[in-house]
Symmetry: C2
Subunit: 421 residues, 2 copies
C-alpha cells in the first residue's frame, strides 16, 4: 500500500517552522509497512491545495494531510478534501459536544467563538477521530464506489505536534495497521563506544542478506541505532522472526549494546546502571557548562543517583570548588589530561559521589592554538577511585563539539561501570 | 519570481532525518522576495524524481534541489536534472582539481575512489559553484532558448547542512538576489518579557496596514521575534524604509526589546549586559539541572561573566553548597518561593558573583501534588543583593517545562539588570 504525506500551512512552506511532523509520520508509516514515495508541502491556498491532493490521490492509496484544520477561514484542508471527494460537510453533534467540553475544561464558557463551530463540520461518511488535546477532530475520508478516487483514503490530522502525534499513535496507526494484510513489527538495538562506519561494517553481511527481518542503521551523536523490522501475521510470529537477529547483534556487539528498548536513551541506561549498583554520580564541567548534568537530569528519577553537579568555568572555580591544584593549572593548563583528572577526582571528593565525569576543552570558535586546537576536549571519569582520561578531537562547531563531549562523557562512564563490574 | 524546493533522498522521505534544509532554504528564499508555493520530497528513484522535477519546472521559475549529489550510484539528482533539460554531462577539469585538493587536505592521497570522479561531471552550460566543505559542487542549470524549459532554472545544492548552508549563504543567495528587479532586505526586532498574543495585539494595526515594509511575528520559547522586510533597489533605501517601523516598535515595546540584531540570542544579550556593567553571574539549578548555565555558556566569551555554576538537585546539596537553611527546606519544601530565594542569595554568596539565577521546580512527569503540580517552578534572581522570586506554572512536558524555566530565568535577570540601571 502506497502512502503519501501532505503538510498544509504557510508557516512550514515559508520555513518559519521545521516540518518535524513529516519526519515523525514518515518514520511511523515506514514502520507500518507502507511504501512512501512522495511528501509535499503546500500553503493555505485552495487551488494549489486541491491540485496537490488530487495528484497525491492519483498516485497513492492513502494520503495523510496534516494542518489546516483550525477554526479560521484560512484553514481549508477539510473543505478542499471534501470537495475533491465530492462530499458535503455536515455538523457532527458528537464533535460539537466535544468542542464544548474541551472549552469548558480549559476556559470560561463565554470564550467559544462562532469560528470554533466550523471545527464541528465533517465530510459525510467520514470516520471522525477524537482529539484528546485540541478541538479539531481527525478525519478519515474514503472515496465512494464508482467515484474518481474509489477506495482511496485521505487521513486528516491536526498540525500541532502535541495533537498530531498522540492522535496518530493511538488511533491512526492501528487503523492503518488494520488495512495491511501483514503487520509490521520492529525493535531497536542501540550501540555506543563504536563508530558508525565500523558498526556498519560489522553487520554488512546481515544487511546484505536481509529479507525478513530487515536491519537498518541510524547514526546518532556518539551512538548507532539498529532497527530490526519484520513483517508477520501477528506480534508473536514477528518476535520469533526478529529474535535470531537480535541475538546475532548481541553476539557481535556484546557490551557495546546499551539497550534493546526503543524508548531508552543513553542517559537513561547510564542512570539505570548506577541505580543497579547503588552508586551516585556527579559532574565537573567546563566547556559543556552544565549540558552534561542537564542531560543526566533529563531522566525522570535521576535524583536517585545525582545529588549535585559542578560547573567550574574559571580556573579559580576549578581550584576552589574541585580542589584542582594550582600547579597543575599553571603547568599543564586548564585544557589538559592532568586537569581533567584532577577535576574528576576532585568532584567525587567534594560531593562524596561514587563516580564522576569531568569535561574540559576548547569548544570554539576562538581560543584554539596549534598545540590545543578548537575541538580538543579532555574527558575524565572516576569510578570508585579509579580515573581514566580520554583526549578527543571534535571537528564540529561550538554547539556540536559540546554535544559530542556530553555523549562521550556518558559513554566513558558506562564503559568504566562495565569494567568495574 | 516563483521558486520551489525539492529535497532528494530516502532518509528524508522515510523520516530518518528531519528536513531542516527545507526550513532554512524556504525562509531564506522568502527573505529574498521569491514566492514559494510548493515543497516536495522524493527518494532516490529516477522516474519519480524526473516526474517531480518536471512538474516543478512547469509551475515555478526556479527549482532548488538539495541532496542526491553524492558519489554513489544512488545519487541521481544531477543526472536526472541534466536529462530533463536535455543536456549532456562532461568532466569539469577545475572541479576534478578541487576534489583532488579536498582529499589531499583531509586524507592520504590513496583514498579517492573512482566513484568520487562522478562528482566532477557537470551538465553542459551549467554554472559550477565551489563547495568549501565537501566534494560535490553546486550547479545552476538554465533551460536553453527554444527548449521546453526555456529560461527556467534548476539549482542543485549538496544535502549535508554544513555544505548546503554556507554554499547558499555565500553563493546562491547573491545569485538569486541578482535575478530580482528589487532587492529584499530585512531586520529583526527581538522582544521578551511579554506574551505572544499581547505582543501581536500591540502591533496589530502595523501588521494590518503593512505594504512596504512588512511586519511578521514569530513566537519562540519565552520570546517573540518581529521581522521587518522591505523591497528596495538598494540596501540604503531599504534601511530608510525600515527605520520608521523599527522606531515605532521601539516606541511601543521599549525595554522589552533585547536586540535589533538578527544573530544576537537572548543569552548573548544578557551576557553582554553583564559585561557592560562589569558584573558576574552564577546559577543555582535544581530541575533544570545545568541547562541554564549550559545556555549561558553557549555564548563564546561567557567566561568574562561566569566563573562557576551550581546544580543542587538534592536538599542536602542545597544546604551544603548554597547554604539554604535546613528549616526553610523542611518548612516550605524544596519547590517554594523561600527556597528559590535562599538558593539565589546563597549562590551569590558562595561564588562571590554579583548576580544569580536560581531554579527549583517540578518538571514532571511525576512528583506533582494538588498544591504543587507538575510544571510549578520558582525562579529566583539576585542582583547586587536584591532578590526577586517568580512563581511560574508551565504546562509542557518535562523537557519543555525545563526550557521555559531557562528562558524565564534569563529574562528575569535581564529585567532586574534593567531596573538596577
Amino acid at each position: 500500500m502506497v502512502a503519501e504525506l501532505i503538510s498544509v500551512g504557510t508557516e512550514i512552506l515559508l520555513g518559519n517552522i521545521v516540518n518535524t511532523n513529516a519526519a515523525y509520520l514518515a518514520e511511523k508509516c515506514a514502520l507500518l509497512g507502507l511504501s512512501l514515495y512522495h511528501q509535499s508541502v503546500v500553503g493555505d491556498n485552495e487551488a494549489r491545495m486541491e491540485d496537490t491532493i488530487r495528484r497525491a490521490l492519483e498516485r497513492s492509496d492513502v494520503v495523510i494531510l496534516t494542518g489546516g484544520l483550525g477554526p479560521t477561514k484560512d484553514d481549508l484542508t477539510k473543505e478542499v478534501t471534501a470537495k475533491v471527494f465530492g462530499k458535503e460537510l455536515y455538523e457532527d453533534a458528537r464533535t460539537k459536544e466535544r468542542i464544548q467540553e474541551f472549552f469548558n475544561r480549559l476556559h470560561s464558557k463565554g470564550k467559544i467563538t462562532r469560528n470554533n463551530w466550523k471545527q464541528a463540520l465533517v465530510p459525510e461518511g467520514a470516520i471522525v477521530i477524537e482529539n484528546q488535546n485540541g478541538t479539531a477532530p481527525g478525519l478519515i475520508v474514503t472515496g465512494e464506489e464508482g467515484t474518481e478516487y474509489e477506495g482511496k483514503r485521505a487521513i486528516l490530522i491536526p498540525g500541532p505536534p502535541n495533537e498530531c502525534i498522540p492522535m496518530f499513535e493511538t488511533q491512526i496507526a492501528p487503523y492503518l495497521s488494520g488495512l495491511q494484510p501483514e503487520g509490521i513489527y520492529s525493535c531497536m538495538v542501540k550501540v555506543c563506544s563504536i563508530g558508525e562506519s565500523r558498526a556498519e561494517t560489522m553487520v554488512a553481511d546481515l544487511m546484505d542478506a536481509q529479507t525478513n527481518p530487515t536491519l537498518a542503521p541510524y547514526a546518532k551523536t556518539g551512538e548507532v541505532h539498529f532497527r530490526i523490522t519484520a513483517k508477520a501475521k501477528d506480534e508473536k510470529t514477528a518476535e520469533q522472526l526478529m529474535a535470531p537477529m537480535v541475538q546475532e547483534l548481541k553476539n557481535r556487539f556484546g557490551d557495546y549494546i546499551y539497550t534493546t528498548k526503543e524508548e531508552v536513551t543513553l542517559e537513561e541506561a547510564v542512570v539505570h546502571m548506577l541505580e543497579e549498583r547503588h552508586m551516585t554520580v556527579t559532574t565537573a564541567e567546563s566547556c559543556t557548562g552544565g549540558l552534561l548534568s542537564g542531560r543526566l537530569i533529563n531522566v525522570p528519577g535521576a535524583s536517585s543517583v545525582l545529588n549535585e553537579a559542578h560547573v567550574t568555568y574559571s580556573n579559580e572555580a576549578k581550584e576552589r570548588i574541585l580542589h584542582v591544584p594550582h600547579e597543575i593549572l599553571v603547568q599543564y593548563g586548564a585544557v589538559s589530561e592532568e586537569t581533567a583528572r584532577a577535576m574528576a577526582e576532585g568532584a567525587c571528593k567534594v560531593s562524596g559521589a561514587d563516580a564522576s565525569i569531568a569535561v574540559t576543552g576548547i569548544a570554539g570558535p576562538d581560543g584554539g592554538t596549534p598545540e590545543k586546537p578548537v575541538g580538543l576536549v579532555y574527558i575524565g571519569c572516576t569510578v570508585k577511585g579509579k580515573t581514566k582520561v580520554e583526549r578527543c578531537c571534535f571537528t564540529g562547531n561550538r554547539q556540536k563539539n559540546r554535544e559530542y563531549a556530553v555523549a562521550r562523557g556518558l559513554i566513558l562512564l558506562r564503559e568504566m561501570l562495565l569494567e568495574a563490574k
